[in-house]
């Protein structure tokens, strides 16, 4: 489903990613595990199209969405056209919109009718259990609620692949367990293809199907 080949990225003189390659099959939940600062978020940003690699190739569903390097035809699809969803570490909900406006942002941009948008938003509000805060603004939500809304917002555009960056970090244990179950459920129901980034290998063990370890910019 998604194929990452030979990704290299340097920031100035620092080589962050040396030779990152891995594949994710359809419906698989892949865990990308490693300590902080090792390049996990950078990898996700490159896959999402927010960052260009120095060299390497990425394809989604057989379509090359990124190709970089010397003496090759450069390819770079804009982020919104890659069929991806990305839940970032800080949720990054739009502070100027309510929960349902946040979730409806993607579908609205896709040109769906008002009715279709409302239906989809409702479905997602229920799926992540935030229907009673639909008119709240992000700063009125708890950390856990924000993550749920972020997930819903991402799912609203029916992405082929989900990218999750440390989704359960900074949550207290009780909330964490609850959310873990909910997220795992959603993965199963949607038969989602997921790249799940975390530094917590225990969390990875319970959440993902397969683990890929990353250390100092390359896969171990």
């Amino acid at each position: 489903m998604i194929s990452v080949k030979g990704i290299r990225k340097a920031f100035g003189s620092r080589q962050i990613l040396r030779e990152v390659s891995f594949d994710v099959s359809d419906g698989e939940v892949l865990g990308l595990v490693g300590p902080s600062g090792v390049g996990k978020s950078t990898t996700l940003n490159i896959i999402a199209g927010l960052l260009e690699p120095d060299s390497g190739e990425i394809s989604v569903d057989g379509v090359i969405v990124t190709r970089s390097g010397v003496s090759v035809n450069q390819i770079s699809f804009p982020p919104a056209l890659r069929g991806l969803g990305y839940v970032m570490q800080e949720a990054a909900l739009f502070p100027n919109m309510t929960v349902q406006e946040n979730i409806g942002f993607g579908p609205e941009s896709q040109g769906l009718s008002k009715g279709e948008i409302a239906a989809r938003v409702n479905k997602l509000l229920l799926m992540v259990h935030v229907e009673d805060v639909r008119d709240f603004y992000p700063d009125q939500l708890s950390g856990g609620q924000q993550k749920r809304v972020a997930l819903a917002r991402t799912l609203a555009v029916s992405p082929k692949i989900l990218l999750l960056d440390e989704p359960l970090t900074s949550l207290d244990p009780e909330l964490k367990t609850q959310l873990m179950n909910d997220i795992r459920n959603i993965f199963d129901v949607l038969r989602a293809t997921v790249i799940y980034v975390t530094h917590d290998s225990e969390e990875a063990d319970s959440m993902v199907d397969r683990i890929v370890k990353i250390k100092e910019g390359e896969i171990e």
């Binding site: 940003n45 999402a48 199209g49 927010l50 804009p78 982020p79 919104a80 056209l81 991806l84 969803g85 990305y86 970032m88 800080e90 990054a92 739009f94 502070p95 100027n96 942002f105 993607g106 941009s109 603004y137 917002r153 991402t154 609203a156 555009v157």
Partner: protein, 260 residues
């Protein structure tokens, strides 16, 4: 120790406020309210007030439309020579207004650099209110650009990233996410731009000229009144200060309210 800091803040603030208020009070104290009212209906006052309002409003609108793209670009795009563009955009702020006026004349007057082209199409700028608008846009745009640039760069990159993943249209991202989040700073920039336009004198005098009823804004009217009747100049000054302050205060009180 906290008390000491507070005391320092209060004392210095008081001194500074006094420094600002004293000259303004000196102007106000030279007119009686009845005199003010009686002079309000003279052409000098009415014409110049109308012109000032019209020109400064139009200039601010023009700056909003023309300068926002470059402000956004400087804030969020990285490109070669960005530092140079940044400096150029600040130039009008560094120029003495009279120099700015001369420069505008040399460029846009009928015998200027491109003024000839304009004139052949029947567009003659000096001596018209459009020259006033152009002069005001020129000198006040840096104020807007600085403030709005800061506002745009202050928008969390992750928010824009998230929006870009959800929406294929960069314009949509700008209109629905970036701009709403930056708008308070943008608005503050507009207010500064408007205030600077209202007080603009040197460039207007040189480029547009001092034509009563046509280009004579309040600052120019005050300048002319100084040569014939100091009292009229004082009355005009009071009106200008009052008007500016009321509008400024109204706008600032609005801008300070939090979004729920």
């Amino acid at each position: 120790m906290r008390l000491a800091l507070r005391a320092v803040v209060v004392v210095f603030s008081a001194i500074f406020l006094l420094f600002i208020i004293l000259p303004i009070a000196a102007v106000f104290l030279r007119v009686t309210p009845s005199e003010l009212v009686s002079r309000l209906n003279t052409p000098a006052v009415i014409d110049s007030l109308k012109l000032s309002l019209l020109a400064s409003t139009v200039s601010t609108a023009v700056v909003l439309v023309l300068a926002t793209p470059i402000s956004y670009a400087l804030a969020r795009y990285d490109f070669k020579g960005r530092w140079f563009l940044d400096a150029v955009v600040d130039l009008p702020m560094v120029l003495p207004p009279a120099v700015a006026g001369l420069a505008l004349l040399l460029a846009f007057a009928p015998r200027g650099l491109i003024g000839g082209v304009l004139a052949s199409r029947g567009i003659i700028l000096p001596g018209s209110i459009w020259a006033v608008v152009i002069a005001e846009v020129f000198v006040s745009s840096p104020f807007y650009i600085r403030a709005s640039k800061a506002a745009f760069s202050g928008v969390n990159q992750r928010l824009i990233d998230s929006a870009r993943i959800l929406s294929a249209s960069d314009t949509r991202v700008f209109l629905k996410v970036t701009f709403p989040l930056a708008w308070r700073g943008v608005f503050a920039g507009l207010v500064m731009c408007w205030a600077r336009s209202l007080g603009e004198f040197g460039a207007t005098l040189m480029f547009a000229g001092n034509l009563p009823g046509v280009t004579q804004t309040m600052p120019l009217a005050i300048y002319i009144a100084l040569s014939s009747d100091l009292q009229v100049a004082v009355v005009l000054s009071v009106i200008l200060i009052l008007f500016s302050f009321i509008l400024l205060a109204a706008v600032k009180s609005l801008g300070g309210q939090r979004t729920p």
